[in-house]
Symmetry: C2
Subunit: 248 residues, 2 copies
């Protein structure tokens, strides 16, 4: 079973204060790039794998999605998602929030045109089974669009920038091909994530039957850096990997 | 036009002494992994993009390939390829070696079942046009299998391992998302290579019409490390990216 760090008190409090938790999708640096990978969501049946506070579920419904199934492991996040939805727009019967461990994902077959997932897969030790489940859950022509932490960000035994003698910011990498668990401290908690190469992630998708449609190693735009100069560091080592895959 | 470093005297002499130049395919650490990506070459019409000394051309003919067109920018390498072929097996009329700048690649349409390329694309500033040419040159169902230097290896402004305070070997990365030319010293020569992310390489292939079949961020096997302990460093930062793409 995946670690349920989001239900720990101290972590949840810290996570709730992040830009992406307060401002929603617009607070997430990679959202414009994710949006560019999405099909028009109008009329689609969508499943959101790791829906968190439900920002994407509500955004998709606002853009005309037929229905959204929001799945998350964290009871706290699902409770917050339900509250936020009720407060913003009254209860929306076409958004269903439900608890789910992605490692044990079960979905009805051929029932969705889009599977969406933001920054969830790096918590999953073995996505082969869940990817196959997502493939079966999509209709032919359906899309699976997700982000995950970038392996250059995940790999190091001691992740962090260092400055070289010339004052350049550099990100020392080791163990890139040593896939598996990485334990790091984030928001005051010990968080276990699973490092996989880009190749492994793509080969698992291909093995599940998907065609790879687009692979983005995300970096900030010039306009984003002008507004948030500290985001520039992502150009030295990317933090997010975005993938769009299709069921043919 | 791509830089023709292989025809410079000092570089050619140095390159000729590498394991992969002396021992051929068996001297190349990544060859077993490349071979695993290849279809059975029996009866295939093959083009080898950046054929060097022609080791792969002769190997493929030895395995029953119908014909091999070996292309390279370097006159010195083509001359050596022709000599080696004549010495080993007499002249083989089904192997044709010809000079070609991959940046200006021209090939007949629908004429090959396999396009192969070993460690050539990182010398090419813009592979979009050549990838489209390869796509058109393949028959439906044909494969494009190639290796290139890995972007983690290519990206840094000062590539090299450093040891941290604990004595761990680490590879500092900067400028990973700053694609473009990288000038490095190799075998006593100033070599210009072009850094691209994995995402960019795959998206160019997809844009040319290819389906991605397999993506390998190559690392040595346990048996290889037992025989060559110094190869273990590739597990800390991969040196080669291997891709198999298909024309559907």
């Amino acid at each position: 079973m995946a670690q349920n760090i989001y239900d720990s008190e101290v972590f949840f409090r810290g996570y709730s204060e992040l830009d992406r938790s307060v401002a929603g999708l617009e607070g997430a640096a990679e959202w414009p790039a994710m949006q560019a990978l999405l099909p028009d969501v109008g009329g689609l049946r969508i499943v959101d794998l790791g829906c968190g506070f439900g920002w994407f579920c509500r955004w998709a419904r606002g853009r005309g999605a037929a229905s959204v199934l929001g799945l998350d492991l964290s009871e706290k996040m699902l409770a917050r998602a339900r509250e936020a939805g009720a407060r913003e727009a009254g209860a929306d019967p076409a958004i269903i929030y439900a608890r789910c461990d992605l490692q044990r994902l079960a979905l009805p077959e051929a029932s969705f045109e889009l599977a969406y997932s933001s920054l969830a897969w790096h918590y999953i030790a073995d996505p082969a089974g869940p990817f196959a489940t997502v493939y079966r859950a999509l209709v032919p022509g359906g899309w699976f669009v997700f982000s995950t932490e970038h392996p250059i960000f995940m790999a190091p035994s001691s992740p962090g920038f260092v400055s070289d003698a010339a004052g350049r910011r550099r990100w020392p990498v080791d163990g890139y091909l040593a896939e598996g668990a990485r334990s790091t401290t984030w928001l005051g908690a010990e968080v276990v994530k699973y490092h996989r190469t880009i190749g492994t992630t793509l080969n698992l998708l291909i093995g599940a039957g998907f065609s790879i449609g687009r692979v983005e190693e995300w970096g900030p735009s010039d306009a984003q850096i002008a507004a948030h100069p500290d985001w520039a560091e992502a150009r030295d080592r990317p933090m997010f990997l975005l993938v769009a895959a299709r069921k043919r």
